[in-house]
């Protein structure tokens, strides 16, 4: 339960925050989701990671589809020849790491500030 709650929160908050704030707001979204979604650090990290990866990877895949892979292919060449799919995976991983890291820190901070309570 807390896993999917954290995951969905990361995606929704990420979507809202990123429309107004720079890219690092995905970490902020993860932090809030991690703070309110769960008290388990591992669950927080995994759910934040997966949520942010889905958000970044999913949106990138949508844009990539409209573009028929044209730009991602070139950007993939620029980054050591990883190709369009490589760019999608890299995007999901980077988004995931920053979302997961945020969720971990958010959850952790809440446990430090309000120990014992769920």
């Amino acid at each position: 339960m807390s896993f999917s709650r954290t995951l969905v929160l990361t995606i929704l908050l990420g979507l809202m925050l990123q429309l107004a704030l720079p890219w690092w707001s995905i970490t902020l979204a993860g932090a809030i989701a991690g703070a309110v979604g769960t008290r388990n650090l591992l669950i927080a990290f995994m759910a934040g990671l997966l949520g942010a990866a889905l958000l970044w990877g999913g949106y990138a895949a949508y844009l990539n589809d409209l573009n028929q892979g044209l730009l991602a292919e070139k950007m993939g060449m620029l980054l050591k020849g990883i190709g369009a799919n490589g760019m999608l995976i890299l995007t999901a991983i980077v988004g995931g790491i920053y979302g997961g890291l945020g969720a971990l820190l958010g959850c952790w901070a809440r446990r430090l500030l309000r120990p014992g309570k769920v």
Partner: protein
């Protein structure tokens, strides 16, 4: 303890965020990864949908009346405006929408401001740009424009359009290169348009060989120098037909050229010249020689092949004129094009308008120099160069003399003792209009008289302006401000202590070389000599020997030309250099002991028709053989420690030596004990290239295409955004002058008459965004020699079948 671990993790997370936010974080080679990959703001936002966007209505406060811009299926904008001002406004907005980074990059490169965004590695380039006087030149040009010139309102409208577009951008919308280099677009200004104009001048008329020629003169002595570097090559067919009369009284130079400096040490300093591959073709054929019965005008300017392309195709329709052609991003108007009445195009003139003067310093600190017997203080100009990664900007002090800047920076160096006079840095004369106005007058021109008046505003870069009108006139003008020089003046370094050694005025506009409706029924130019030696003014420069002769040969045929013939001609890969050079090489070759591969090469060459076709091996062999023989002949140049500071003989002169003087002393190689002749050099070169090619010659994919490997490179040199190994033939001396990274940057054929029809193509695409399907959409077509029929329409409705979407400004 619990807190310590948490804070450590937090700090680590913040460091990771910073690392992913900055370009080259902590000195690494990485781009700002988080920022770049973020699908909401990073590069994914530049992945344009392949499908056409929806039409838009945009409110622009600066516009006077409503403007409709219809984009056709090739993304060419057709601007319909009530007045010329609004058309320029819309042009600025639209050009920025598709080419903003290119506009920024070109003007930064011209102004010496690349280091601001790139860092240390472009610093020396930036310094040199400023020391050449580029920023001063642009300031002076802007001052002249601002002084009530005709073009200033158009430049201001264009600027407002660009800036309205920039103001509409969120960081997520920035062009991709801004994101990769991690900087933001800054507002446009008329000063930037002046920089764009100076960047064109730098490409086209900065060429200077004074130091190189002086060195070669010192190395060879007068007689051999004159033999190798004649003023006018035999067999040349000049831009203005040789039989054109000069019915005027020329201004006589009052001062003979100063003697070239005495023989002595070589000068080990030369500025990087613009590449020698800049060239172009244009011609116009009168109705009596066309299948349509009306004139046909053609132009293909050969410039650097780049992505985004140097040209942006556009139609501008106003109540004053209806005109179509190509524009130069950063400059309002159309530079090569046609309207309902006339068509025009340009090739470069390449007269020498940059001269070097030696200075006689008065004091040890070099703060004053002698001029006409009196000491004169240098003026100082301080250039501030911002460098990414540095706290404080670099301040570079440049000395200016009456001649121009002292370009070399180190006062301790003997090469600090020269000043440069370049026409493009001079304060423009006070006139009603200047270089931008010239094109706006042509855009609205109706006839030869309008063309004649329009061209009077141009000073530099000088261009051969071809002209044709629906009334049936054709014309060619070698147009620009040309310094009056005594015979040989400006060819070598000159003493700068006498003001009389300067230019002796300018050739009056009425007397510059021009021809209208010549009896031959056509006019043509291809960067060759402007006029035959009968023209009463001296000029020198760097001129092409082959393309002009071929165009004249083809156009003088007794036949009627169709637009299709003209397109075929623009794509013609025949080379007179090969026609003359190959027999000279072959007859000098010792064929006594050829190996099997040498025999194959020989047979391929014997069967060759002198066309530089992409799938043949012979052009590759010929070109290697010719250049190798050239280098082995002029080994004195190549083996000199000063090889970078010498002028090299033209290829046609080498071919003539092979044919006419096979025992010339130049064929002797100093390093060997024996006395070589042409036969030895050519044979040795043939053996050398056969050894080079031994492993690849019989491969199926060894041919002229793979040998040349044409590259259309991204402006910032990013391979992933470039087109490599383009499938095309051609040669610098063929009409289809495709070189490794230079070539026909726009091919246009205009058939005039009651109904105007035109065709064109360029090696790029309308969008500057590497994520757009229109980034390089015309490259394949261009390589195949195919054309687009240009949609020259009178109303937006006429585009109904071709319209993708439209933008309405109100």
């Amino acid at each position: 303890m619990r807190y310590a671990l948490f804070i450590l993790t937090l700090v680590l997370a913040v460091a990771l965020v910073i690392a992913a936010h900055r370009n080259h974080p902590f000195g690494s080679a990485l781009p700002p990864l988080g920022k770049l990959l973020d699908p909401f703001g990073g590069f994914w936002q530049n992945a344009e949908p392949a499908k056409a966007p929806k039409s838009q209505v945009i409110d622009l406060p600066g516009i006077k009346e409503k403007v409709e811009v219809v984009f056709d299926e090739r993304l060419v904008p057709h601007i319909f405006a009530a007045n010329h001002y609004d058309a320029c406004y819309a042009q600025g907005y639209i050009t920025a929408k598709y080419r903003l980074w290119q506009m920024d990059f070109i003007t930064r490169a011209a102004a010496g401001r690349l280091s601001e965004v790139v860092g240390e590695k472009t610093l020396e380039r930036d310094r040199l740009q400023r020391r050449k006087g580029m920023t001063l030149a642009a300031e002076r040009t802007l001052k002249a424009w601002s002084d009530n010139s005709e073009e200033m309102p158009f430049i201001e409208a264009y600027t407002a359009g660009v800036n309205d577009y920039i103001a509409s951008l969120k960081p997520a919308d920035y062009p991709l290169e801004f994101k990769l280099l991690d900087y933001a677009p800054e507002p446009w200004s008329p000063f930037k348009t002046a920089l764009a104009a100076k960047s064109m001048a730098e490409t086209l008329c900065f060429r200077n060989d004074d130091l190189q020629s002086t060195n070669v003169l010192r190395m060879l002595g007068d007689s051999l120098f004159n033999d190798l570097f004649p003023d006018y090559p035999p067999g040349q067919t000049p831009v203005i037909p040789a039989d054109t009369p000069w019915p005027f009284n020329p201004v006589t130079p009052h001062q003979a050229a100063p003697a070239p400096p005495p023989y002595g040490d070589l000068i080990r300093f030369a500025l990087p010249n613009p590449p020698p591959f800049i060239g172009s073709n244009n011609w116009a054929v009168a109705g009596k020689k066309t299948t349509t019965g009306h004139p046909i005008l053609c132009n293909d300017p050969h410039l650097g092949l780049s992505l985004p392309s140097i040209w942006y195709e556009i139609q501008m329709n106003t109540s004053e004129c209806n005109v179509y052609g190509v524009s130069f991003p950063g400059t309002p108007g159309i530079l090569i094009g046609f309207n309902d009445y006339i068509a025009w195009g340009e090739t470069n003139v390449s007269h020498d308008v940059l001269d070097w003067y030696t200075l006689t310093w008065v004091d040890e600190a070099k703060t004053a120099y002698l001029l006409d017997g009196k000491p004169r203080k240098v003026e100082y100009r301080i250039e501030e160069i911002k460098v990414k990664g540095r706290q404080a900007p670099l301040l570079d002090t440049i000395k200016f003399t009456a001649w121009g800047p002292v370009v070399y920076p180190d006062p301790a160096s003997p090469y600090h003792d020269m000043a440069m006079h370049w026409l493009s840095v001079d304060m423009p004369e006070n006139q009603d209009f200047h270089e931008v106005g010239v094109f706006h007058r042509l855009m609205c021109g109706h006839n030869y008289e309008d063309y004649y008046q329009a061209l009077s505003g141009l000073s530099a870069p000088a261009q051969n302006f071809v002209f044709a009108s629906s009334q049936g006139d054709i014309a060619m003008t070698v147009n620009g401000k040309f310094p009056i020089k005594a015979d040989q003046q400006g060819r070598f370094l000159q003493p700068g202590d006498q003001s009389a050694n300067g230019w002796q005025g300018f050739i009056p506009y009425e007397q510059i070389p021009r021809v209208k409706n010549p009896a031959q029924g056509y006019v043509a130019s291809a960067n060759q000599h402007s006029v035959a030696p009968s023209y009463p003014y001296y000029y020198n420069g760097a001129f092409d020997m082959y393309r002009g002769r071929l165009i004249n040969r083809l156009l003088s045929e007794n036949k009627k030309f169709s637009p299709g013939d003209m397109m075929a001609m623009q794509n013609n890969t025949y080379s007179i250099q090969a026609e003359e050079g190959l027999p000279a090489l072959m007859s000098a070759l010792d064929t006594g002991s050829l190996t099997p591969i040498q025999k194959d090469m020989w047979n391929d060459l014997r069967g060759w028709n002198f066309y530089f076709d992409k799938n043949k091996k012979a052009p590759a062999v010929f070109y290697r053989w010719l250049t190798r023989s050239y280098k082995d002949t002029f080994d004195e140049w190549y083996t000199s420690p000063d090889s970078n500071y010498l002028d090299y003989p033209d290829m046609w002169r080498f071919v003539a030596l092979l044919k006419d003087s096979p025992t010339h002393i130049l064929f002797d190689q100093a390093a060997t004990g024996k006395r070589e002749q042409a036969r030895d050099i050519v044979t040795q070169a043939f053996k050398a290239i056969s050894a080079e090619l031994a492993d690849v010659y019989h491969d199926n994919d060894f041919d002229w295409r793979s040998e040349k490997a044409v590259r259309i490179g991204h402006l910032a040199g990013i391979d992933a955004f470039s087109q490599l190994n383009v499938d095309i033939g051609g040669h610098s001396d063929a009409i289809n002058a495709v070189k490794k990274s230079f070539g026909p940057s726009w091919r246009m054929v205009v058939s005039l008459g009651p109904e105007i029809k035109a065709w064109g193509v360029y090696p790029g695409g309308q969008s500057g965004n590497p994520g757009s399907p229109y980034y390089d959409s015309m490259v394949g077509q261009w390589a195949q020699g195919k054309y687009n029929e240009l949609l020259f329409v009178k109303t937006p409705d006429a585009l109904r079948e071709h319209e993708q979407f439209r933008i309405t400004f109100q």
